[in-house]
Amino acid sequence: MRNTFADEFYALGKEDPRLAVIVADISPAGSIAKFREHFPTRFINTGVAEQIMIGLAAGMAMRGLRPFAYTIATFALFRPYEFLRLDLGYQDLPVTVVGIGGGVTYSTLGGTHHAMEDISIAASIPNMQVVAPCDPAETRILTRYLATENRKPTYMRLNKAGEPDLTATAEPFELGRVRYLRRGKDTCLLAYGPIVKQALDVADALEARGESVSVCSVHMIKPLDVEGIVEALKTHKRVVVLEEHVPHGGLTSRVKEVAWDNRASCELKAFTLKDAFIHCYGSHEELLAEHGLGFDAIAASLGISE
């Protein structure tokens, strides 16, 4: 995802001299190195200083540039939070803050590097959009949109490198709309980010048992496609949210709100990270499992027996 972001950003930056990137001692590598080399004045490294990363981006946006701020999600969001809130949100500036390592991607680095509640706190800022592509292809589309048409402050959650493409056979991407990767009638799995892969695996298992299953990438969590969520709730017997995020304030909370507001009668289940800092180290998959987001736990809870 981060390499796709870098490739796309470089390609767009060649065309548009207003595009700039401000990093805080973390680089997306790949093509950003080329961007830095070709456009040294549009690549700023603030060092280990995140408040000025956002402040510079705000000032640049106010004079007509299209800045992206980029670092590890925890440091992109939690450390300079009030700068996102006031410089970007209050002033409603077209700045994209890219946080890499969303959720527990940095599985061996501990809680200091986990962004488990990033969606929640970003979405709580008025004016702030929140997007989270599920694969490199969606990363490319969203990067292009944010660099060209977008006029709102936006938090984009990415994971890291090496995620598989999941959307080759999906329905066409429509910005902000719940996107069906496959369409069924019984169960609908809603997710965003690379955990959509887990949703597809769960869908395969459910289909093997004869269920008809939908899988959706909810790539924009704020503003949420409420109409699309309502449709999913009304046209399926069961809706399941899979979210690499704490239980509150993210997609799970929003889907439950929408379900209540719209008198949804389907079964509704959610699998999220725990509301806990877990002191556990291992692979990304191992941490998800420790949080209860592993395939086996989800399968068992949904009544799938191997």
Binding site: P17, A20, T41, R42, I44, T46, G47, A49, Q51, I52, I54, G55, L56, A57, A58, G59, M60, A61, M62, R63, G64, L65, P67, E82, F83, L86, D87, Y90, Q91
Partner: protein, 271 residues
């Protein structure tokens, strides 16, 4: 180079102070003393330093990073015809657009401030953007001395010379007062500021912050190859004896009797 008339500066600042006091009789929520300490500096930027285009719009930028000093900015913008009398009458009223901290989007206001430590970073981003866009815009940013304690200010102090922003001028309103006491007492090793910012790569100078001509000279005669940091030595509540260096006037509005006394004192001061 254009000259700066010291007598005119004094006359304008007297009018500004009287206007602020006049508004203080209409609305209680007012930072009078913090506006009085930075009044000459703000006036000098607007009336001496900032260039206006043929369309009347400023080509240079001023950011009031110590947002609670904005009453000085409002009365100057009014005198310049950028804010209207009607807008001023709506200060802190539901139908108005002016609050006790400046708000981006209002005529003449370049950034929303009020939470301290935001203006200098924004100013640096603007200065860098103007360079990239090929414009010779100068960016002036007024900071409070208590505000200098924010870590974010030091991130900006560090980055501004890295970006080579010689188009940026930071003006410190060193009135030596903050919420709970004198800055030089609560933080005894903090001042002087000039030597600290010089060590970060700035050009720096000190000046009497109530002498408009001195502020003008210090800024226009700077070398100009680095960002410039001007410490203005000021008095909180400057111009009204009972307000000077008395912390309660950070936020209090004078009662009618106090108002009359303040007006009499100010008018007498120019005689």
């Amino acid at each position: 180079m254009a000259s700066f008339d010291a007598g005119e500066s004094k006359r304008r600042c007297l009018e500004h102070r009287l206007r602020i006091l006049e508004i203080s009789q209409l609305v209680g929520a007012l930072h009078v003393a913090p506006a009085f300490s930075c009044l000459e500096a703000t006036d000098t930027v607007y009336n001496g330093l900032m260039r206006r285009g043929d369309d009347g719009l400023f080509r240079d930028i001023f950011i009031m990073s110590k947002g609670h000093g904005c009453m000085s900015q409002y009365v100057i913008l009014e005198a310049l015809g950028i804010l209207t009398k009607e807008q001023m009458a709506g200060y802190c009223k539901p139908y108005g657009c002016l609050g006790a901290h400046p708000d981006y989007g209002v005529a003449g206001i370049e950034a929303s401030t009020g939470s301290l430590g935001h203006g200098l970073g924004i100013a640096a981003g603007m200065g860098h953007a103007e360079r990239l866009l090929g414009r010779d815009t100068a960016v002036y940013c007024l900071i409070g001395d208590g505000e200098m304690q924010e870590g974010s200010i030091w991130e900006a102090v560090m980055m501004t010379p890295n970006l080579g922003l010689s188009n940026l001028v930071a003006i410190l309103d060193f009135n030596d007062y903050q919420g709970l006491g004198r800055t030089t007492e609560t933080h005894p090793h903090f001042m002087p500021m000039a030597e600290k910012v010089r060590s970060f790569g700035w050009e720096a100078a000190d000046v009497d912050g109530h002498d408009g001509a001195a502020i003008y000279d210090a800024i226009t005669k700077r070398r100009g190859d680095k960002p410039f940091f001007l410490t203005c030595h000021t008095i909180k509540g400057k111009g009204v004896s009972y307000m000077e260096n008395v912390p309660i006037w950070h936020y209090r509005a004078p009662n009618p009797e106090e108002y009359r006394k303040a007006v009499a004192e100010l008018k007498g001061s120019l005689a």
